[in-house]
């Protein structure tokens, strides 16, 4: 379950960015995930839910954009994106291999390098700077 380590790191990064503004609440987190990221989406979602408990990101929505594989020919430089991004990392481990072309469609060179597909990125977060709500809570408590 390395997804838990990754999710914890994500939550720490988020907390660090808003350290000076402790009343900030995160409502959504935007990620970019490639088929070669080596991360299973369902495991990452479950891990994030746990890692976010009691933090500013508790209950935040995870919005995950899946990227596809891109190969480049090292002879002619032709680039090609492969098929549709799959739904979950578990499926991708096998399916991306099946999808890889054996030769360059432009010059038939036999060697294609994977140049994109290992994205594991924190793109953005959607936040509420929740001054009022927090004030209300402290007075009613």
């Amino acid at each position: 379950m390395h997804e838990l380590a990754i999710a914890s790191s994500l939550v720490e990064t988020l907390a660090e960015r808003f350290r000076e503004r402790p009343k900030t609440r995160i409502t959504a987190v935007y990620l970019r995930l490639g088929p070669l990221a080596g991360v299973v989406e369902s495991a990452l979602r479950a891990a994030f839910e746990v890692a976010a408990l009691g933090t500013l990101a508790e209950g935040a929505r995870l919005e995950i954009e899946h990227t596809s594989l891109k190969v480049r020919c090292h002879i002619c430089g032709h680039e090609q994106a492969l098929a549709d991004p799959a739904e979950d990392g578990e499926d991708i481990r096998l399916s991306c291999l099946v999808a890889l072309p054996e030769v360059c469609p432009q010059c038939s060179a036999p060697v294609l390098d994977l140049v994109e597909g290992d994205e594991l990125d924190l793109v953005a977060a959607e936040v509420i700077e929740n001054e009022q709500a927090s004030d209300v809570r402290t007075t009613t408590d």
Binding site: H2, I6, T13, G38, R93, L100, D113, V123, I128
Partner: protein
């Protein structure tokens, strides 16, 4: 009011930063660090024993990540005094901070090589940079020709693929070409070396490859190059 805050960074940024700092330290100390990854039982420890013995008297250290036992560390202590075990418990991979802590009191400049024997697992370690100079993924002949197909992420990032236990190629009728094709589909240009720690076959090429990792690499010190 909702507002978008941009990050645009790797999810593993914190570990990556730690690893980058380690990489600077390793380079400054002149030690070549190799992150060795495989499934459990593929033969990492056996290979390392043979490698350290063959490299001797060049000083080499080993950091071993293991879920619980100390057996691998005990075996390696017979070939080098520089052995540290990291017991990861339930954690399925090593992280840069763990390596940093394990070697905190070592004078790195005394070492020429440092091998990190990662936790036996070909999935989880793929995401965690340890500050290594090179990532080596090891498969054993006993694991079958198609094993690489199941682990594209770790292969994609590999600098070298080793096919170990080559003394069993014939007994098991292992189709080496099929193995090579499986690796090449994910990583078309990664070098692949076949070797056996038991018979010593291929060990020379592996040592050559290690020596090229030094900025002052001396591939000429091996038998293969001398012969040519």
């Amino acid at each position: 009011m909702n507002k978008q805050v941009t990050f645009e960074q790797r999810l593993t940024e914190r570990n990556d930063a730690r690893a980058a700092e380690l990489r600077r330290r390793f380079a400054a100390a002149g030690v070549v660090v190799v992150n060795l990854m495989s499934s459990p039982g593929a033969g990492k420890t056996t290979l390392l024993s043979a490698t350290l013995a063959a490299l001797s008297p060049e000083p080499a250290g080993v950091v071993i990540g293991d879920l619980a036992t100390d057996n691998d560390a005990q075996r390696l202590r017979t070939v080098t005094p520089w052995v540290r075990q990291i017991t990861t418990g339930t954690l399925c991979h090593l992280e840069a901070a763990m390596v940093e802590e394990a070697i905190a009191d070592w004078e790195l400049s005394q070492l020429r090589y440092l091998f990190i024997e990662n936790v036996g697992n070909l999935v989880c370690p793929a995401n965690f940079d340890l500050g290594e100079r090179a990532r080596v993924v090891l498969f054993a002949v006993t694991e079958g020709e198609d094993k690489p197909e199941k682990y594209p992420p770790i292969l994609y990032r590999a600098d070298l693929v080793l096919l170990a236990k080559s003394d069993l190629l014939h007994p098991l009728a292992f189709d080496e070409q099929r193995f090579v094709v499986a690796v090449r589909r994910v990583n078309p240009r990664v070098p692949i070396l076949t070797l056996s720690a038991r018979t010593g076959e291929g060990l020379g090429s592996w040592l050559d490859w290690l020596r090229t990792l030094h900025p002052t690499g001396r591939p000429g010190s091996s038998d293969r190059v001398q012969a040519s």
